[in-house]
């Protein structure tokens, strides 16, 4: 990490998950927002050789969001004037002045970015690696929910998951078997099969959370699809939770004025 480009931002969380590895292919560029002590707006990108990097989502030239940029080789280019950045954030090339070596003072602010077990993580702190259970899982999907993380964890503690028993897929009670600051592992153990879901939480903005969801490996496609649909139903419950409670309260008041 290039110390010249690092600026100190106070961030309370350590590592934060921002994407499933499969959703950031070689040459991919995406935006990640993190709700921390100072809200972060980041560009996360993967070079052609597979290296992930994260910068402040702002080109130092004219403030253009780098998440609109494109990857060539091992560099991220800004869409506006094509300025190219290496993985350490240093500006390597300015197309308007192709023969000039850009001054080392020009660069994008970088963040630690690491891939672990199929998930891409961001950190502000020079730590070793993300604190999460070893999962060996496969990516299922990332899902945005308009709800705070704390509410979602509570709801997940009470959920059922679809499991396959022979040719059928039916819901079974899930329990939380592991929980960390960033993640939660749900397990269903039944006679026919055991199934795990690893859910990693990204606080995006107040009231919005991205869930990055992995499953046990080698599940059949129809079960994976059922799990994707479970995620949709879970989101619906989470987002309509408040409404349901409110309407119950209103009707209760009507009965007992």
């Amino acid at each position: 990490m290039n110390a010249e480009h690092a600026e100190k931002h106070e961030v309370s969380a350590g590592w934060v998950p921002v994407a499933l590895s499969a959703d950031l292919p070689d040459g991919g560029v995406m935006r990640a927002q993190i709700d921390a002590e100072l809200p972060l707006d980041l560009v996360v990108w993967r070079s052609r050789s597979g290296q992930v990097s994260a910068f402040d989502n702002r080109c130092p030239h004219r403030g253009m969001r780098l998440s609109f940029g494109f990857v060539r080789g091992e560099r991220l280019s800004c869409i506006y004037h094509g300025w190219q950045y290496g993985q350490d954030g240093g500006c390597r090339h300015i197309p308007a002045h192709p023969d000039m070596t850009p001054p080392t003072s020009i660069g994008a602010n970088t963040y630690l970015c690491q891939e672990h077990d199929g998930v891409v993580w961001i950190s502000q702190h020079a730590d070793s690696r993300p604190d999460l259970p070893e999962s060996g899982g496969q990516g299922l999907r990332s899902l945005s929910v308009n709800r705070d993380e704390a509410d979602l964890r509570k709801l997940l503690a009470e959920t059922c998951l679809p499991v396959s028993g022979g040719s059928e897929i039916a819901p079974a009670d899930a329990s939380i078997i592991a929980e960390t600051q960033t993640s939660l592992v749900l397990e269903v153990a039944s006679n026919a099969a055991s199934l795990q879901l690893m859910i990693h939480f990204q606080k995006v903005t107040p009231g919005k959370t991205m869930l990055h969801i992995q499953t046990s490996p080698d599940l059949p496609v129809d079960l994976l699809i059922s799990l994707s649909r479970w995620a949709e139903r879970f989101r619906w419950s989470a987002e309509n939770m408040g409404t349901m409670v409110k309407s119950w309260d209103a009707s209760a008041r009507e009965m007992h004025p």
């Binding site: 989502n57 702002r58 030239h61 004219r62 403030g63 609109f68 506006y80 004037h81 308007a96 002045h97």
Partner: protein, 283 residues
């Protein structure tokens, strides 16, 4: 914020003159104030403020111009607008969630052509911007850039092949940018393209493109839509520049020699006290 006098006492486009129909008034918001523009029974055009008072009025370059203050100067002059043989083209307003000053500054920039207007106004590997000349002309209080050259695959609707294009840029008012470029059918003459910006707020504006050019072959709609295409390609850039307000502190963003016009524009704005749509320190 209260609008500074510099911003208040200036002319801004509020309507396209020949689209105003008697009995169908239009509204336009100018720096937070709603103006009504109408064509009366005697064909007179009026601009009325929210409190019912009449606003200053100039009709020029196909547009109705007005003010929420009292401009002490007339609207800038573009002599080419009166030249015979030119087509006058009103391209219509496009709304952009950006500072009017960011919109003007983008119109002064050529280094983005190969990346944003790819294969039209520029193409890789022809990305180099050679040194050009910039001055603040104090007698007229305008920013001018001259001797600008760039290779263009399709310089205008009228262009049949790629060519080196000569450019001049002119900022006659904080929210107006005018460019002059080699006219493909008439080398030696300049096609003129103006961008007239009306700030709705500090971070939202309506941009009216207008052209006075030589083109005997294209129909009017094709000319309008060529320019709309160019502006719409810029719009998603403009809406994603952070901070939204144009930084006037030179330490906040990093220019290179290709940005000499924008550096002069920002310095000129600061000198004039034009802070509407700008920030002196990070806000």
């Amino acid at each position: 914020m209260t609008v500074s006098d510099v911003a208040r006492n200036d002319w801004y486009p509020v309507a396209i003159e020949n689209l105003l129909i008697e009995g169908q008034p239009e509204t336009a918001v100018l720096m937070g104030e709603t103006l009504t523009i109408l064509r009366a029974a005697d064909d007179q055009i009026k601009v009325i403020a929210a409190d019912g008072s009449e606003c200053p009025l100039t009709i020029r370059y196909g547009h109705v111009w007005s003010s929420i203050g009292q401009p002490e100067h007339p609207l800038f002059d573009i002599p080419e607008a009166d030249e015979e043989g030119r087509r006058m083209v009103d391209c219509g307003p496009v709304r952009v969630k950006a500072s009017p000053l960011r919109v003007v500054e983008n119109f002064l920039d050529i280094a983005h052509f190969p990346f944003v207007h790819t294969d039209i106004l520029g193409a890789e590997p022809h990305t180099e911007v050679e040194p050009y000349k910039v001055e603040i002309r104090d007698t007229v209080d305008e920013v001018w850039a001259t001797k600008v050259r760039f290779f263009q695959p399709q310089a205008a609707k009228s262009a049949e092949e790629g060519q080196m294009t000569d450019y001049m840029y002119r900022v006659p008012a904080p929210c107006v940018s005018i460019l002059y470029k080699t006219s493909p059918p008439r080398p030696g003459a300049w096609d003129v393209i103006g961008l007239f910006v009306r700030p709705i707020s500090e971070e939202l504006c309506d941009a009216y493109a207008w052209m006075a050019l030589y083109d005997e072959d294209s129909n009017q709609t094709d000319l309008v839509q060529f320019q709309q295409m160019i502006f719409l390609q810029d719009r998603s850039i403009l809406e994603n520049q952070i901070p939204r307000l144009l930084p006037l502190d030179p330490k906040m963003e990093i220019p290179t020699r290709a940005d000499t016009t924008s550096v002069a524009y920002r310095r000129w704005l600061k000198r004039k006290g034009m802070t509407y749509g700008a920030q002196l320190v990070a806000r």
